[in-house]
Symmetry: C2
DNA sequence: GTGAAAGCGCTAACAT
DNA sequence: ATGTTAGCGCTTTCAC
C-alpha cells in the first residue's frame, strides 16, 4: 500500500489537516511542525493521491483529446503541441482515437473520468457530439475544424485563402494550365474550401477552369496516386498541380516519376500541410505550411484558460505560409 | 452539477445501494425496481463518476505511456496500437512526452494520478527510472527497449538479427562493397546492436570490413544527410548502403540524388523501420519492417494482463521482415 | 497554531 | 429484495 496522508500525519505526530496545510503552503503551523511533516513525507516517499483530490476539488487536471486517427502525421504534430502546453500548465492528456466511429463512446469515457476539458480535433462536430459535449459541462475547443452552427472556439488556418495563395503562387511562376488534386469531396472543412480557393484564384487571374483538371482523392497517398493517374490520362494537359494535401502530392509525384515526368522540369507540384515528409522526399516538396505544433499549443492554452477562468475565449485563424522547396519551376516565358 | 448516484436513488425512490447493484448487474432486486432505476438514470442522464469509483477500487482503468518524442512516426505507430487495445479492454491512456528529460517528473504525475500501469517506450531504463517505477507499485513494460539489469517484460525486434539480415540481403543481391549509416553511437538499443549485425554479416560472408565505410548519424533526416556526405566524400567506394533508420535512409537518398547518383542503378539502399514514409518516397524504399502497431498492441495486452492478474508475463521478440521495394539493385555478376 | 469532523460519489459489508 | 453505513484519501470549515 502506498503511504497516505494519514501515514504522514501519524509519523509526524500531527493531524492530517496540518499535513494538508503544509502540502499546500497554507498558513497555520509553526516552522518546527513544518519540518516534522516534511521529514515524514520524505521518509515515507509520500505523494498525494490525485484521485482523492479530484473527488473533492471537482478538478482532475486532465484533458481529453479526440482524433480520428492518432497515428497520422497530422495528429502527431497537433498532439505534440497540445501535450506540451498542457504539461506546462499542470494538466495530463488522455488521447482517444475515434477512428471516425467511437466518438460518442469516448465522450462518455471522458465524462466518467471527469476530464476538465476537451480538444476535439479534425472531425466534424455533429449535433450528437455537440449535445454530448455540452451535457458534460466542461469547456471544449475545436482544432482544424469549425462549427458554423454553434459558436465554439476553434483553431485553424484559413483553408480557402491558403488554397488561393498556393494557386496564385503557381500562376505567378508562370503556370496557366493548372490541375488540382482535391481532398474528400464531401469534407466541409478541408474539402470544399480548398477547391473554392483554387477556383477563385484561377478566376481572379482570368484563367479558364476546366472541370477535367480536378480530381478527388481522400487525402491519402494511394488515393492521390489513383487520382493522379486519372488526371494524367484524362485531363487536358497541365504544367502544374496543386494537391490539397502533402500525402496526395507525394503520391502524385511518384506517379509522375513512374511515367517518366521529371519534377519540376516537366511538372510542377505544390502540396498542402507541410508534413515532415514534405522535406524528406526528393525533390523536396514546395507546400503550404500549417503550424501544427502551434495549433496544438493554442488549443491547450485556450482550453485551459476556459477551464481556469470560465470566461469565453476567441477563435484563432493561424497563419499558413508557402514553403518554397524544389517542386515548382518558374516558366521561362515569364522570366 | 452533474447528477450523482444519490440523485438517481432519490428519483427512483430506492437506496443508493440498489442503484449501484443495477449499475453493476449484481443480483438482489426485483425487475420492477430495476426498471424504475433505469428510468431514473435515463431521465437524469446519469453517468457514474470514475474518480469516486477509482478511490474505492484502487483502480483507475488508466495507463500511462512515456515517449521521448510523441510526434515521431515511430511513437505515433506505437501509440496507435497501444491505444487500440487499451480501449478495447476498457482502459484510457495518458500520453507523456518526456523529451528525454521530463521522465521523472512524468512518473510522479502518473503516480499521483494513480494509473494502473505504464508503458515505457524507446528510452533507456535508467536506475533512477526503475526505482521510481517500482516505488509506484504498478506493473510496467518496456517497448523497443530492454533492460539487461532488471527483468522487465519487453517488446522489441531483434535488432542485431534484423541488421544482419538486411546486410545479408544486400550481399545476396551481389553487393560486396557495402557502407553503413549507423544510428547514435552510444545508443545501446538501436545503435550498437545494428552495427554488430552488420559487421557479423560481412564477416560471415568473407567480406572485409572497412572502418571508413561506416558513418554515424542520429536517426534523423538531417543527420543522415550529413553522414551520407561524409561517406560519399571519404569512404572507399560502395555499391550499396545499409541505413539503420528510414529517416536516415531517406536523407541519404536525397544526397545521392543531388549528386547525380541514380537509385538503385548507381547505388542501392536498404533502410530500417518501415515508417509510412518509406513507401511514399520515390523510388519506394526497401527496408526492414518493424510492426509498430503490433508492438503497441502487445505492450497493452501484456500490461493489462499484469494489471488484471498480477501474474508475470513474458517478453516478446516480434518478427521483422524485409520489405522489398525499389531501392536495391541485383548486381549482374551474380545473375 | 492545531485538530476534529464533515463530506466529495461511490462500493461493499452488514442488517433487515 | 432492499436499506444503512463505513470508509476510500483528501480538503476545508469550524472549534479550541
Amino acid at each position: 500500500m502506498l503511504p497516505t496522508i494519514k501515514d504522514v500525519a501519524k509519523k509526524a505526530q500531527v493531524s492530517v489537516a496540518t499535513v494538508s496545510r503544509v502540502l499546500h503552503n497554507l498558513p497555520g503551523y509553526s516552522d518546527i511542525t513544518k519540518q516534522k511533516v516534511l521529514k515524514a513525507i520524505e521518509d515515507l516517499g509520500y505523494q498525494p493521491n490525485a484521485i482523492a483530490r479530484g473527488l473533492i476539488n471537482k478538478r482532475t487536471q486532465t484533458i481529453g483529446v479526440l482524433f480520428p486517427n492518432v497515428s497520422s502525421y497530422f495528429s502527431a504534430g497537433l498532439l505534440h503541441g497540445i501535450e506540451e502546453v498542457a504539461n506546462e500548465r499542470g494538466f495530463s492528456v488522455i488521447v482517444c482515437n475515434t477512428d471516425g466511429k467511437r466518438t460518442i463512446k469516448y465522450l462518455q469515457v471522458l465524462r466518467e473520468k471527469q476530464v476538465d476539458g476537451i480538444v476535439f480535433a479534425s472531425e466534424e462536430l455533429k449535433d450528437e457530439y455537440y449535445q454530448a459535449l455540452t451535457d458534460m459541462r466542461v469547456p471544449f475547443v475545436l482544432v482544424n475544424n469549425q462549427s458554423h452552427k454553434y459558436s465554439i472556439p476553434y483553431i485553424k488556418v484559413d483553408d480557402r485563402q491558403a488554397s488561393y495563395q498556393a494557386t496564385q503562387y503557381l500562376i505567378q511562376k508562370g503556370h496557366r494550365e493548372i490541375a488540382m488534386l482535391a481532398g474528400t469531396q464531401s469534407d466541409p472543412i478541408a474539402g470544399t474550401p480548398r477547391v473554392e480557393g483554387f477556383r477563385q484564384a484561377l478566376s481572379d487571374y482570368g484563367i479558364a477552369f476546366h472541370e477535367s483538371r480536378i480530381a478527388y482523392g481522400d487525402f491519402l497517398l494511394e488515393g492521390g496516386r489513383i487520382a493522379m493517374r486519372r488526371l494524367l490520362d484524362e485531363a487536358a494537359p497541365f504544367s502544374a498541380l496543386f494537391a490539397a494535401g502533402d500525402e496526395m502530392a507525394i503520391g502524385a509525384m511518384g506517379v509522375a516519376l513512374e511515367r517518366g515526368l521529371r519534377i519540376p522540369e516537366d511538372l510542377s507540384i505544390i502540396g498542402y500541410d507541410d508534413l515532415v515528409i514534405a522535406q524528406m522526399v526528393f525533390p523536396p516538396l514546395t507546400t503550404v505550411h500549417q503550424p501544427l505544433t502551434e495549433m496544438g499549443q493554442l488549443a491547450s492554452k485556450k482550453l485551459i484558460t476556459m477551464i481556469e477562468s470560465s470566461d469565453p475565449v476567441s477563435s484563432s485563424i493561424v497563419m499558413h505560409h508557402i514553403v518554397e522547396r524544389n517542386t515548382v519551376k518558374e516558366l521561362n516565358q515569364y522570366k
